[in-house]
C-alpha cells in the first residue's frame, strides 16, 4: 500500500513535471497508448499514427515549404484522420536554435500553418485542426549541429479528441 501510494505520487509528480514541456498532448503524448501485449499496433491508436504513418514533417533552414516527403506523410495523415472523424489535431510548429526567439516563434507558426493549409486543401475540415508555435522552446534533439537541427525544424501533428483517446 505504502509502496503503491508512493508509485502513484511519483507518477503524479512526473505528470506535473511534464506539463511545461510536453503537456498532455506533447510530442510523445500517447506514444505507447495503443500497444497491446504481444500484439500488433492497433491501427486506430495514436502510436500507429505517430510511428506507422509518421506524426511529423521536417523543414529546411528558415523555410516553411513542404517537400515531397512531407506531402506524402501529410497525405497519409489526412487519410487516417478521414477514417477517424472524431479526432481533432493540434499542429505544433518548431524551429531549430539558430534564430532569435521571437523570429523562431513566428517561423514555427509559419511551418504549422503550412501543414494546416495543405491538410485543408486536401479536404480536412478546418474546424478539426488548430496550430501552435513553440519556436525554439522545445527542441527534440539537443546537440548543436545539423544532425539535431534538421530534426528540430519540424511540424508535429498531435492527435487529440475522440472516443477512447488516451
Amino acid at each position: 500500500m505504502g509502496l503503491k501510494k508512493t508509485g502513484l505520487m511519483l507518477a503524479a509528480v512526473l505528470a506535473l513535471g511534464a506539463c511545461q514541456n510536453g503537456g498532455i498532448f506533447g510530442d510523445n503524448g500517447g506514444r505507447n497508448a495503443g500497444q497491446t501485449p504481444g500484439g500488433a499496433i492497433e491501427e486506430s491508436s495514436l502510436e500507429y499514427f505517430a510511428t506507422a504513418i509518421g506524426d511529423r514533417v521536417l523543414f529546411s533552414v528558415n523555410e516553411a515549404t513542404l517537400n515531397a516527403d512531407a506531402k506524402r506523410i501529410l497525405d497519409a495523415q489526412v487519410a487516417w484522420l478521414n477514417q477517424y472523424p472524431e479526432r481533432t489535431i493540434v499542429i505544433e510548429g518548431h524551429a531549430d536554435e539558430q534564430g532569435t526567439r521571437e523570429y523562431n516563434l513566428a517561423l514555427g507558426a509559419r511551418r504549422a500553418a503550412s501543414v494546416r493549409n495543405y491538410m485543408v486543401a486536401a479536404g480536412l475540415l478546418e474546424t478539426r485542426l488548430s496550430i501552435i508555435s513553440y519556436g525554439k522552446e522545445r527542441p527534440l534533439e539537443v546537440c548543436s549541429s545539423e544532425a539535431c537541427w534538421s530534426k528540430n525544424r519540424r511540424a508535429v501533428t498531435v492527435v487529440a479528441g475522440g472516443i477512447g483517446n488516451v
Partner: protein, 441 residues
Amino acid sequence: MNHFKTLLGAMLVLLAGMAGAQERPTIEIDVSGGNIEPVPLAVPQFIAETSGARRLSGDISSVILSDLVSTGLFREIPGTAHIAAINNFNAQPLFSDWSVVNAQALVTGAVSTGSDGRLVVKFRLFDVDAQLPIGDGVQYAGTQESWRRMAHKVADTIYSRITGESGYFDSRIVFISETGPKNDRRKRLAVMDYDGANLQYLTDESAIVLAPRFAPNTRDIIYTSYETGLPQVFLLNIDTGRRSQLLDDTTNMATAPRFSPDGTKVVMSIIDGSNTDIYQVDLNSRRRTRLTNSGGIDTTPSFSPDGSRIVFASDRGGSQQLYVMPASGGEARRISSGGGSYGTPVWSPRGDMIAFTKIRSGRFHIGVMRVDGSRENLLTASFIDEAPTWSPNGRVLMFFRETAGANGAPQIYSVDLTGRNLRRVDTPSFASDPDWSGVVR
C-alpha cells in the same frame, strides 16, 4: 586641482577611447587589455556612527565599490593594502596615506541610524593627488531595508561626477530564470537588482514564459506566456502581483510586446498563421491598431525614446533585416545593410543608436548601429548571443549568451557600448531574455 584635472583628463581620454573603438576586434574583450587605465579607487569601510549602523556600514561601502569596479572604469585598491582608516567623516583625510597606496580617487562615508530607525548614508569623494573634494558631500536617508538602493545611489553619484554620464546602478533586471535539461527546460519570470541582488520569482514553472519588458514606471511588466495553451501577452504588476491578459483573443498567438515610452501603449506581434504583423494596443481601451501589413514576419518592435518611430525586424525582403517606420505605421525604411540577418532591435535611451542581434555564418553577435544604419559595430560573438537591452544611461548592454551542445544553457552577460568589459551577471540558475529597467524612482 591640477592633479584632479589629470584624473578627469584620464576619464575624458577614456571616453574618447570608447567612441573610437570601432576597429577593435569584438570578441571576449579583456577590460585590462585595452588602452584604458582604470582609475585606482579606495573605498575604506564606511564609519558606523551609531551602534545600529554597524551591521550595514561595511555592506554599504562594499556595494558602492562593487558597482564602480564593475564598470571597468575603476580599479579597487583593496582594504588589505590600506595603511590608514577613516575614523572621522568630517575631518580632512590625510591624503598622503592614500597616495602612497596609489589611490587616485577616495570615497569616505558614514552611516547612522536615527531614533525612528531610518538609515542615513553620507559620503564624500576626493581626488587624492589634488587633495581636494570632487563635489560636495551628499547624504541619503531611507529605510534600513533600502540600504542597497542607497548604496547604489551613492555609486551613481560618484560615477556621474567622474564620467559626466548619469549612473545606472539603482536599476532592476526582469528576466527568464531557466532550469532543467535542454529538452525539458522550465522557465520562470524573475526580477532582480541590476547586480543580481534581491532576486524574486514572479511566476511558477507551470507555463513557458518569454521576453519580459519593464514599463517606464519600473513596476509593471509585460511578457509572453503559454498559460492559456497558446503564446499570448500578459501584464503583471510586481508590487501587487496582479496579472491580466492583454487581449481577450483566444485564437491568435501574440509575442514580443514592449511598452511605449509614455507607458500608455504596447507594441507587439500578432501571429495569424503564416503571417506575423505588428500591432499597437492602447492600454486603456485595449483597442488594437495594425501597424504593418506585409506578408512576411514582422516582429520585435521597439519605440524610439521620443515615441515617434518604431524599429523592428522583418523578413519581407527575404532575409531578416531591421526597418524603421513612423509610430503610427506607414512606410518602413530598411536600415541594416551588412551581410547576415538581424533581429531583436532595441532603440537606445539616448535615441541615437539601435542595438540588435546579428546572425552571420552560424555565429551570433550583439551589435549597435546608428539609427540610419551607419557605423555598425559588433560588440560580441559566440554560438548564441541574443536579445540586447540598454542600461538606463545607454552606456552598457545586457544580453544572454547560450553555450552550444547537449548541455548548452543561457546566462546573462553585460558589455560596454564599446565592446569592452564583458561580464557575466551572477544568477542562481540559467537566465535569458533580460530587460533593464530605467533608474528606479
